[in-house]
């Protein structure tokens, strides 16, 4: 009742979309895949911008599409953010924000003010779109989608058209959306980094089909994930900021399985954070290792092993307390160490990335 049930079959020359999904009705769900995997098409089907010949879409109990029903886009309670901000060139920023607000029965002034505040665009309201930077335009585009008071926010790679600097400028705003919005967000992306930072759930797509989906942590820790992440393989852990070592400017983040020391970013103790641990930064030792420069050493048990992109490499999933980490080893070192499921190991973690 609280979820989104989507079934779409669509046949285009050279491309087929065939999905049958239940998407969670809360949190950020990432539609993740390479270009051409059908993730944007799926999002457009959800919005009604594309009409799958065979499809059924139920949003929290309301039918948006089935054999007899077709709710046109302008009647769906959605907010949609396009890859390019696509602001109306003939209106200024406020005019763009008001466009949907005026036409939406569910929109409220408060929603507009909240959107302006959330995206930090209060100082841009009387500017014309062509005087804004790419990052500012995209923030206005997101605020415009929020101002209609949507029941679901659909975002199509909102960062893809921006350079790295602009991405860094917008990501914090997206993280705020994640924290402060009560509505579900469907976020299309091909960037493992964005997914790790923003998503709660992940739907991995390839060739117009869903190849894996589930909660972010568990899905990323799967070794049989059909989408090869290469250098981006790794896990995301939910953690809280704990002890701070003022002398060495380090902070400990605690997750279900232990603590990890990382640079102290000045976050308050008790703050919930995400920690991304890439497989390439994790190594395993059979005996307790000699003292080394690596600060984070945890005890774990080998849980399973799987293939990596390169035939010389291996991904190893290790149970550490209630959490799982993934390590990338060469096949030779795995053989020499006798890595096998059930083997107790020391897990050495070279670096972790903290995401608020």
């Amino acid at each position: 009742m609280d979820s989104i049930n989507a079934r779409f079959k669509l046949d285009w020359p050279g491309f087929t979309l065939d999905v049958d999904l239940a998407l969670p009705g809360r949190g950020v769900t990432a539609l993740f895949g390479h270009s051409g995997s059908g993730k944007t098409t799926l999002l457009r089907c959800l919005a009604g911008l594309e009409r799958a010949s065979h499809g059924r879409l139920e949003f929290k109990g309301q039918i948006w599409q089935d054999e007899n029903t077709w709710l046109p886009t302008h009647q769906r309670p959605i907010g949609y953010v396009f890859q390019e901000a696509s602001l109306f060139a003939h209106l200024n920023v406020l005019g763009n924000l008001n466009f949907g607000l005026k036409r939406s029965a569910t929109a409220q002034r408060v929603g507009l003010e909240q959107a302006i505040e959330l995206l930090g665009i209060g100082h841009l309201l009387d500017r014309k779109p062509d005087t804004l930077s790419g990052g500012e335009r995209q923030r206005v585009g997101i605020a415009r989608a929020l101002a209609v008071g949507p029941e679901i926010l659909l975002m199509d790679e909102p960062l893809a058209a921006l350079d790295l600097k602009r991405k860094q400028e917008i990501l914090p705003y997206l993280e705020r959306l994640h924290d402060e919005l009560a509505i579900p967000i469907i976020y299309v992306s091909h960037s493992p980094d964005e997914v790790a930072r923003l998503a709660d759930h992940i739907v991995a797509m390839e060739g117009g089909r869903v190849v894996a989906h589930g909660p972010l942590g568990a899905t990323l820790a799967r070794l049989d994930l059909p989408i090869r992440l290469g250098e981006d393989a790794g896990v995301v852990l939910d953690a809280t900021v704990g002890e701070v070592d003022a002398e060495w400017h380090l902070a400990c983040v605690d997750f279900a399985g232990g603590g990890l020391w990382t640079r102290d970013l000045g976050l308050p103790t008790g703050k919930r954070v995400r920690v991304r641990v890439l497989a390439r930064d994790v190594s395993l030792a059979v005996h307790h290792p000699e003292p080394s420069s690596i600060q984070n050493v945890l005890d774990g048990t080998v849980e399973s092993m799987g293939a990596d992109d390169h035939p010389g490499l291996l991904l190893v999933r290790v149970q550490v307390g209630a959490s799982q980490l993934v390590a990338r080893l060469t096949r030779r070192s795995a053989a020499q160490l006798g890595i096998a499921p059930g083997l107790p190991v020391s897990v050495q973690i070279k670096s972790v990335a903290l995401m608020e």
Partner: protein
């Protein structure tokens, strides 16, 4: 200076061009929209029909319109049964003929303007709760404004300059169908070269000014982003 009959011809020409432009704005806009948006098979044939007056000799167009609007023609019988009489050799007959003759000058700039707007602003409007009709008035019209100005100016100027169709449909009735271009022809026929010169100069200056104004404006292409 210009004679009274010259001024009468100029006023008639202006009225004809103005009314034709208004009619074509109303008729040409939906045609241009269909041509810009449709992916249907009939888009090609419709586009060709609209463009015909560009290549057809005006006398040919005028000949067929004369037949259609004459007492024996289907349009003529319709107008007669409606109590409007027959249209050839009347001002309104000229208006109808001019509307056909200048159609491509309205439709083609509008079609280009609509096409250059693209799909995206329409999709954005839909996600912001605007119905298709609402979108047309609140998004398409403002974005296509430069196209409308170009189309309107070209249509007006082109109608001012028509000659062949006027002769076929309107003849040469002072104050009713004798437009400026026909008046010049009359002057030359009567060897009144000085009069012809003055009126011709007015036409030349008008045409040049209109085109100059349009090129100076050089509207930036309408874009959705």
């Amino acid at each position: 200076m210009l004679t009274d009959s010259d001024l009468q011809a100029i006023w008639l020409t202006t009225r004809l061009a103005g009314i034709t432009t208004v009619i074509l704005l109303l008729v040409g806009t939906p045609i241009a929209w269909l041509l810009a948006r449709s992916r249907s098979w009939w888009k090609g044939p419709l586009g060709a029909v609209v463009a015909l007056p560009l290549v057809l000799p005006p006398s040919v167009l005028g000949f067929y319109l004369l037949l259609a609007m004459g007492p024996q023609g289907p349009v003529g019988q319709l107008t007669a049964s409606l109590g409007l009489g027959v249209l050839p050799f009347t001002f309104w007959g000229l208006v109808v003929a001019s509307s056909f003759y200048s159609l491509p000058f309205m439709v083609q700039p509008l079609q280009n303007a609509f096409e250059s707007i693209g799909e995206r602003p329409l999709e954005v409007a839909a996600t912001l709760r605007a119905s298709p009709l609402d979108t047309f008035f609140s998004v398409v019209l403002p974005l296509a404004k430069p196209g409308f100005i170009t189309a309107g100016v070209l249509t007006f100027a082109h109608t001012v300059g028509e000659f062949g169709v006027v002769l076929m449909i309107g003849g040469n009735i002072p104050g009713v169908t004798r437009v400026a271009s026909v008046q010049i022809y009359d002057h030359v026929e009567a060897m009144e070269y000085a009069d012809a010169h003055r009126l011709a100069a007015v036409m030349l200056i008008f045409s040049f000014t209109v085109l100059l104004a349009m090129y100076l404006r050089r509207p930036k292409p309408a874009r959705g982003d």
